[in-house]
């Protein structure tokens, strides 16, 4: 075990001293679980306090072996710490792609299951866990449980989206999807208002992938103006070059913490206006990296928010409530003039089986805020709107929700708690998040 050293999620808030254990093998994992208190951690891309524990943090990064692959079925079995980037590099030349990917490829397979991540295809494909054929879970008593939707089903549903609180996922079998190329045919549309944006999202439900970038600082008639990106995997005939070869993208590194005032309402507002005006409407063929992971080209972009860090606020609102709720949220945001730099709107499909899984059928809005007092107060006001309209917040992004709000918005919490009690009565697996939310 390493000496305690400062650790945080991707948002760099909160930051606490944690001792890291870095197993290389299953035997190492078993020994680690003898610790009185610990939480699994992948590549640290959850934004808040989900993978922090002042007892011990169990890193999955050194157990990242690919174990088997069946080219007939497209099922890959890999260890928990395999990075999505490596999974893609493995799958693409074989004509496959992960069934669901989040906004960064620097996440682990175990992390994607534990957060039950969703992607731009949620309306059709559901969350990542829907494509998990089975997994092996190392539980608090040191035993390994083989779980699937039809085996140890309750534990499986608690583990998918369970934020690492049921045990350490050791490995998983994932159903990949066949693709003909590494490219996507993307159509870009502009929406001048929130109504237009929602109409375009609805109209895009027949597309495999659809997501909108939304300008949260636009007011009045322009409130909710958006750029909609929808896409399909490009077919072999659409690509002239080698279909699975993608030119490596130049990456930039944010070398230092920017001053905390870098992102303010004026700089972000100017950026948004430029972004909206310059979006090239129409159809284009782009590689998977640019379509799915645009921000990965800027390594360490979280440092743009400066030393205090930032908080992601991602909510989902049931479909019927969305028109009113989104308008209220946007009015609150543009009124406060708070500088959410990255704002994403997406229409999600039906709720997943995971008991703490985030998405439900409706609109999800993701925002980031520099961590400061004004923004924390603003988020409390947003909380009220989300609650009133039957929505909820995403645990993988959260760093500040109250236990009360959590209880009110996750109706399957009791079922989750019962399973966790049975598998880990002393709450050996716990995190700052689970303590904060009284999970």
């Amino acid at each position: 075990m390493q000496k305690p050293s400062p650790l945080s999620g991707w948002g760099r808030f909160p930051n606490v001293a944690c001792s890291m254990i870095r197993p290389r093998s299953e035997a190492d994992m078993r020994r680690a679980v003898e610790q009185p208190s610990l939480i699994p951690r992948g590549n640290g891309r959850a934004y808040g306090d989900a993978a922090l524990n002042q007892g011990a943090v169990l890193s999955s990064l050194h157990t990242d072996r690919i174990r088997s692959f069946n080219p007939e079925t497209g099922i890959v079995t890999c260890e928990t710490g395999l990075l999505l980037a490596d999974l893609i590099a493995f799958a693409l030349p074989r004509g496959f792609f992960p069934p669901v990917v989040p906004g960064t490829k620097f996440v682990t397979v175990g992390g994607m299951i534990a957060a039950d991540i969703h992607g731009k295809n949620h309306h059709g494909a559901g969350t990542f866990s829907r494509h998990v054929v089975s997994l092996n879970l190392l539980t608090a008593d040191g035993t390994i449980q083989h779980c699937a939707s039809d085996e140890n089903a309750a534990l499986f549903q608690a583990t998918c989206g369970g934020m690492g609180l049921t045990g350490m996922i050791l490995d998983a079998a994932i159903q990949l999807v066949p693709v003909e190329t590494a490219y996507l045919r993307q159509e870009t549309l502009r929406a001048g208002s929130l109504e237009d944006a929602m109409a375009l999202c609805e109209a895009s439900s027949g597309w495999r992938y659809a997501v909108a970038w939304i300008d949260c600082l636009a007011r009045g008639r322009r409130l909710g103006r958006s750029i909609i990106y929808r896409a399909e995997h490009a077919t072999r005939s659409e690509i002239e070059s080698d279909p699975f070869v993608v030119a490596p993208r130049p990456t930039r590194v944010v070398p230092l913490d920017f001053p905390a005032w870098t992102l303010n309402r004026w700089s972000v507002s100017a950026f948004n206006a430029l972004y909206f005006a310059r979006a090239s409407v129409g159809t284009a063929i782009i590689d998977y990296d640019r379509y799915f992971f645009p921000l990965d080209a800027v390594l360490g972009w979280n440092r743009l928010y400066g030393r205090p860090g930032f908080v992601q606020y991602q909510c989902v609102i049931p479909r019927a409530e969305s028109p009113v709720a989104l308008r209220r949220l946007l009015e609150k945001l543009s009124g406060a003039g708070s500088s959410s730099f990255l704002s994403v709107l997406k229409l999600c499909g039906p709720e997943a089986a995971g008991l703490l899984s985030f998405p439900l059928e409706g609109y999800t809005l993701a925002l980031d805020f520099p961590a400061n007092a004004a923004n924390f107060n603003l988020m409390l006001e947003l909380d009220r709107i989300v609650l009133e309209h039957g929505g909820r917040l995403y645990l993988a992004k959260d760093a500040r929700m109250s236990a009360v709000l959590f209880r009110q918005t996750y109706p399957r919490l009791a079922a989750f708690q019962a399973i966790r009690r049975a598998v880990d009565p002393s709450h050996k697996f716990s995190s700052l998040l689970s303590e904060r939310l009284d999970l």
Partner: protein
Amino acid sequence: MTLPQPVLVIGATSDIARAIARAYAKTGRTLILAARSPEALDRDAEDLRLRGAASVTVIGFDILDQAAHPRVLDALGEAQATIVCVVGLLGDQQAAERDSDAAELIMRTNYLAPALFLDAAADRLLRAGGGTIIGISSVAGDRGRASNYLYGSAKAGFSAFLSGLRNRLSRSAVHVVTIKPGFVDTRMTEGMKLPPLLTAQPSEIATAVLTAEQRRRDIVYARPIWRLIMIVICAIPERLFKRMRL
């Protein structure tokens, strides 16, 4: 250019060796992994095959067991090959100062056994008509320091051995590379407080190894900043150096 020769990795369970094997697997090479506990490498072997290695063989081998050296070299047959020696034992300096057995183990593991093994390997490669020998030494061998001089002195011996072997083989088709990592984020250094800017990831050492093999480099510091640091450290007069705590 991808080299077709098989790659023999000695000390294959270490983090650096695993990273090196992975980097070679991506280029489609044939891998032979030698380690004291070969069963620990079963999963790695499968992973390396899936990641592109032409084939992967795992053999049990303790480099301290000199009688076993010929057997491992036999696994190469008479073919030209690349041999990467990642064997290393940091040990506990303070404990080893009081325990001569522990001190001897550090010296044998870091110098004696690898040197004897690679000397025999060199003859084998000469007979095969070419190949590459890559030794993972350490910047700790550039100057002895109180905090790790048993390890450092053995690595100094290993570096000098590699340099001499390179000199001897310079007119042959066998090339010798010395890799000198500074701090590396591995199990060996777990628990130490290491400065992030001076600490390499195992994958960086792997990249250095593959590049050095391809471009026939002689001595490579990974990260390069360490070459500068060691020039400065080596330039300090002994009269001053002996009082310093580094």
